[in-house]
């Protein structure tokens, strides 16, 4: 079990879930912001457009301009850009080789497994110093419990 933890209110998490369902069968993507004063806490979600030039059911890409705006938003509002979320339509919430190849240090990567109108699972991952993904526990602040099963081993 990993000791990495990501805290979020279930209402904030719902914003990602709604966006994943809205964009289905295509992959959705976006940013989230927050602070690290007392562990990593997400306070704001910002969905952005998937601009992948190709099969958007299997791939996503974020416009560099949207990335630039996200960093500016963080600086102007004194919050931290904590990571990226994206969906896996009709697939498990396990990072792909493609996700790993593109992953950056520090960021939390939230993956939502979405089947039509239902969210099957949500996981979060962070790169360790060896460049492998470690599963991060999603802790719901309002429910005072972890999201879902969180049974994933630390392998991608």
């Amino acid at each position: 079990m990993s000791d990495l933890k990501l805290k979020i209110h279930s209402k904030t998490l719902k914003e990602m879930e709604s966006h994943a369902k809205l964009i289905f069968p295509y992959e959705c993507c976006g940013f989230f912001f927050g602070n690290e004063a007392n562990g990593r806490l997400i306070t704001r979600v910002l969905p952005v457009q998937n601009v992948k030039n190709g099969d958007q059911r299997r791939r996503f890409e974020i416009d560099p301009v949207d990335y630039m705006k996200a960093e500016q938003h963080a600086l102007e509002n004194n919050v931290k850009l904590l990571g990226i979320f994206h969906s896996h339509p009709l697939h498990k919430a396990i990072p792909s080789q493609h996700d790993l190849k593109q992953a950056l240090p520090y960021f939390s990567y939230i993956i939502l497994s979405v089947y039509s109108n239902s969210i099957e699972d949500i996981t979060s991952w962070r790169l360790n110093d060896e460049g492998a993904f470690e599963n991060e526990i999603i802790y719901l602040t309002d429910k005072k419990s972890s999201y879902g099963k969180n049974h994933y081993s630390n392998t991608a």
């Binding site: 992948k52 600086l75 990226i84 493609h98 593109q102 950056l104 240090p105």
Partner: protein, 93 residues
């Protein structure tokens, strides 16, 4: 001095600083100055041939540096240079 905005994931190489001020007038020289100041960031920005890595984009104001006609654009005191990592992924192979 022009301001370079360092992307959040690379701030572990800049002692958590988000911004670097450079008095250079040339974009690449300014980024090289940043790399000399924080040597650990260099490999994340430049390849062995000292070219900007393909997954790193540079914006000067709201313009993609690679699409600028005049690469030797002169940095002004209020110019903001953004270093932007590629963000992508997917499912399956």
């Amino acid at each position: 001095m022009a301001r370079i905005i360092i992307p959040t994931p690379l701030r572990k190489f800049t002692k958590d600083e988000s911004t670097f001020f450079s008095s250079k007038k040339n974009v690449l020289e300014a980024i090289e100055e940043l790399s000399s100041f924080y040597p650990e960031i260099k490999n994340n920005l430049f390849d062995e041939d000292n070219k900007l890595r393909s997954f790193v984009k540079v914006f000067v104001g709201d313009k993609d540096y690679n699409s600028l006609q005049e690469k030797d654009i002169e940095l002004q005191d209020d110019t903001v240079v953004s270093i932007i990592p590629a963000i992508a992924g997917g499912t399956g192979k």
